[in-house]
């Protein structure tokens, strides 16, 4: 497909193996969650005029795209955090895309429009990560509720974004990044990231569809989802 150095080739192989391992572990994770009984609400719909499980689930799953739906993201302070959340997660998507596409179609990432878009999201996410590190370490509340996993996951992603930006620069041939060492480092870090994720808080995105579906179905059935304000 493309010519690479032996070191980079090895990194690419490790990276794909890590992906397979991650897929297996994720499958086991989901199996573990599904091994618990699904609690069933046998009560009649809470409010016949408002109750709708499916509508509740839809609302719940998509409230990530509706910052007005929750007070925590609607208020100005919360909205700033919401924006940082959006940028951070778009950066993660860009970073994952970079890792995979760089191993199979690096030329695609050299198109200026694609390359600079990737660069924008990764750098923006890096900056948001720094803000998040500051928020988690400086705010007493955040320190109280944070575990070593919370700090490590965040720091790891921050480093991953930084090396990802360097990798993208290397692929685009800009900023004087000529060595493929950064790309090798990026792929090894991504491999570690993929292997670590199922055992850390980062696996929350695996659970997200489940937790949001469960709460959406529960509150949709009762009639309090979607939230109505007067």
């Amino acid at each position: 497909m493309h010519e690479v150095s032996p070191a980079l080739h090895t990194a690419e192989v490790v990276h794909w193996i890590a992906l397979v391992v991650m897929a297996i572990v994720y499958t086991l994770r989901i199996r573990w969650l599904l091994s618990f009984n699904l609690g069933k609400d046998k009560s009649a719909p809470g409010n016949p005029t408002q109750s709708d499980k499916k509508r509740g689930v839809r609302y719940s799953l998509f409230n990530v795209a509706m910052p007005w739906s929750m007070e925590s993201t609607r208020k100005p302070k919360g909205f700033v955090f919401y924006l940082s959340f959006v940028i951070f997660h778009l950066g993660v998507v860009a970073g994952i895309t970079l890792a995979f596409v760089s191993t199979i179609a690096p030329d695609f990432l050299r198109f200026p429009a694609v390359g600079w878009t990737m660069m924008f999201f990764i750098v923006a996410a890096f900056l948001v990560s720094l803000y998040r590190i500051a928020r988690r370490t400086l705010r007493p509340l955040m320190r109280l509720i944070s575990t070593p996993d919370d700090y490590f996951s965040l720091i790891m992603l921050t480093v991953w974004f930084a090396i990802g930006a360097a990798t993208q620069a290397h692929l685009m041939g800009i900023w004087g990044v000529t060595s493929d060492v950064v790309q090798i480092a990026y792929l090894y870090l991504t491999s570690f990231f993929l292997l670590y994720v199922p055992f850390s808080k980062i696996s929350h995105y695996l659970y997200y569809p489940f937790t949001r579906t469960y709460i959406g179905r529960a509150l949709g059935h009762r009639g309090s989802y979607p939230v109505s304000r007067g």
Partner: protein, 588 residues
């Protein structure tokens, strides 16, 4: 050895495994510690510098137990995910008790603010359940749970007292209306509606039962009240004890089936509605739950169907509506109360936020029965007080008895110039009776005045001991009782009260709780433990209704009455009359 778990901790871990289902596990593994739930909690807003108030911290207490025992990483590297800080000693459990019961009313507001959909309130309830399972709970929760297990209602109301109260209300209706057609029928088989109430109504506010009876009669409803399974509340919701929840709910369902009613109507009680209508069905394992509805829905339908007529001009005050968390957030029941309120009153001012996003009254989650947390609870109510104050309302309307008590406490504590009413009060007051149904006399429906006893000096020949340290209160109570025909003697503190009770053997003692020297609680206990005074009925009249649990927790028979200041004159006389008569009936 120091790190060995106690037997209680091991029992909690075993119990936790039984409480895990997919939804609960999702909430346990889904939290990313983002802190977004923080400001949704009224405790956080009241105590911004105490970060242990934040919902995720509270939920982490049960999360740690879960991770240490069930999570991959937590089992191998507990310190990495915070699972190393699990409770080990029984002292740790006391700390957990304080968190789970004393810093959260399970109002579920944080759940709605969680981007991950983590149901933190459910996790806190699970922690309560684990603690209750090993006997670690506030004394009030223990007493109330025991009453519900043993007597079938959470306030320990005896069957004879319950039936006596229903009889009393029927008599009053007869006096108001001039006929006995509105009398409360008990155990009527084949009735269409079984009406179940909160024991608070029987014990402290029977007026609401009378008003409901009046409305049922005006609507031509075929209804009844049961002798058992009449308590719509369920302390299992608050203690986290699903076993108690199931047994209590089943009592009600079984009774409804035995009577062959078409539906159960639940009086205005948020946790009663949620536990009977929604959660109880699951706790009791009901296959096909029978129709159940809130009395608000029943009254609304009566108005909409033209079964009763109402005149909103009879309720002209500026009002605001407080959503019970259990009704609004957990049962989607928030528009119907407003619809009814608009039909029976003139001026509704919304408070913000409202409906499913409304703030807790501070009385939820069983908080009213945990007197040790009262100061913290009252402070946490500042956000609710600010909300009410901003509306300028004279009346706060709510469809929940816990909220009535919670809001009344806040109103007194913060000096708000308003009162709390329920929709049943307003509907009864706005009721327009047909010519055929109008009372012969001028008595107004919904008017709680005890016309018969008032006209005949109901307390004539009675001796009442008024105990209160405030001179103006003593004077007021003395005047009211004397106007009702009683002979009144007074005492200024607990010591004087005990000695005067011994000497004069009054028919009733009106007792304040908060007094210098020997306070009312100590005096009450001494009165109950002294052979010469143990039979004298006591009606507590206090400016601190939040102390009620303090007195009900004493290891003596509870007081015969409990009224909050400022006390309504008619209500006071009616209570005094009723208590004395009831005592005499019992003696005979």
């Amino acid at each position: 050895m120091a790190n060995q778990k106690t037997h209680k901790i091991k029992m909690m871990e075993e119990q936790l495994a039984k409480k895990l289902n997919r939804q609960v596990v999702g909430s346990l593994v889904g939290c990313v510690h983002c802190g977004m739930c923080d400001e949704s909690c009224h405790y956080v807003l009241a105590f911004p510098d105490d970060h242990k108030m934040t919902p995720s911290y509270k939920a982490d207490q049960v999360r740690k137990l879960f991770k240490a025992n069930h999570d991959w990483t937590g089992s191998v590297f507990p310190w990495w995910v915070g699972a190393d800080k699990v409770p080990l000693s029984d002292d740790d459990l006391e700390t957990l008790k304080d968190i789970a019961f004393g810093t959260c009313t399970n109002c579920r507001r944080c759940t709605l603010s969680c981007p991950m959909g983590v149901d933190t309130a459910t996790l806190n309830r699970i922690m309560r359940g684990l603690l209750s399972h090993v006997g670690v709970m506030p004394e009030g929760v223990r007493v109330v749970s025991k009453d519900q297990w043993e007597l079938g209602n959470q306030m320990g109301v005896l069957k004879e007292d319950y039936l006596d109260t229903l009889g009393w209300m029927s008599e009053e209706l007869e006096e108001d209306l001039g006929h006995d057609k509105a009398a409360i029928l008990v155990e009527k088989k084949g009735a269409k509606v079984m009406y179940c109430v909160n024991p608070r109504e029987v014990k402290y506010d029977p007026r609401t039962i009378k008003e409901a009876a009046l409305i049922f009669w005006a609507a031509g409803e075929d209804w009844t009240m049961p002798t058992e399974g009449w308590d719509n509340t369920n302390f299992g919701l608050f203690s986290g004890d699903d076993g108690l929840g199931g047994v209590s709910a089943k009592k009600l369902y079984d009774k409804a089936r035995e009577l062959g009613v078409d539906k159960i109507v639940i009086s205005e009680c948020g946790h009663g509605f949620r536990s009977t209508r929604c959660e109880g069905v699951n706790w009791a394992g009901e296959g096909e739950p029978m129709p159940m509805e809130s009395s608000v829905m029943t009254m609304l339908n009566y108005v909409k169907e033209g079964r009763i007529k109402v005149d909103p001009t009879k309720n002209p005050e500026k009002m605001t509506f407080h959503d019970s968390c259990n009704n609004a957030r957990s049962c989607g029941f928030y528009e119907e109360p407003r619809e009814l309120l608009k039909l029976v009153s003139m001026d509704l001012q919304e408070m913000y936020p409202n409906r499913a996003e409304g703030f807790c009254c501070t009385g939820g989650g069983g908080a009213m029965s945990m007197s040790e947390y009262t100061p913290r609870r009252l402070e946490s109510g500042k956000i609710k007080v600010d909300q009410i104050r901003a509306t300028g309302a004279e009346v706060v309307v709510t469809s929940c008895h816990n909220c009535v008590d919670g809001l009344n406490d806040l109103i007194k504590h913060y000096g708000l110039d308003c009162e709390v009413k329920q929709l049943v009060n307003l509907v009864a007051n706005a009721l327009v009776l047909d010519e055929a149904k109008k009372p012969a006399e001028e008595a107004q429906p919904g008017d709680i005045a005890v016309t018969k006893v008032a006209g005949e000096e109901p307390l004539a020949g009675r001796k009442i001991l008024v105990v209160d340290d405030e001179e103006d209160v003593r004077l007021f109570l003395t005047t009211v009782f004397e106007d009702a025909g009683a002979e009144v003697i007074t005492a200024m503190d607990g010591n004087e009260a005990v000695s005067m009770a011994r000497e004069h053997q009054p028919d009733l003692i009106s007792l304040d709780l908060s007094m210098p020297g020997k306070d009312g609680v100590e005096a009450f206990v001494e009165l109950r433990k002294t052979p010469e005074t143990e039979e004298i009925p006591v009606c507590v009249v206090t400016g601190h209704p939040e102390f009620r649990q303090v007195i009900y927790d004493r290891p003596v028979a509870p007081p015969e009455g409990y009224l909050g200041k400022p006390v309504d004159e008619d209500k006071l006389v009616a209570y005094a009359h009723h208590i004395i008569e009831h005592r005499e009936e019992k003696a005979n």
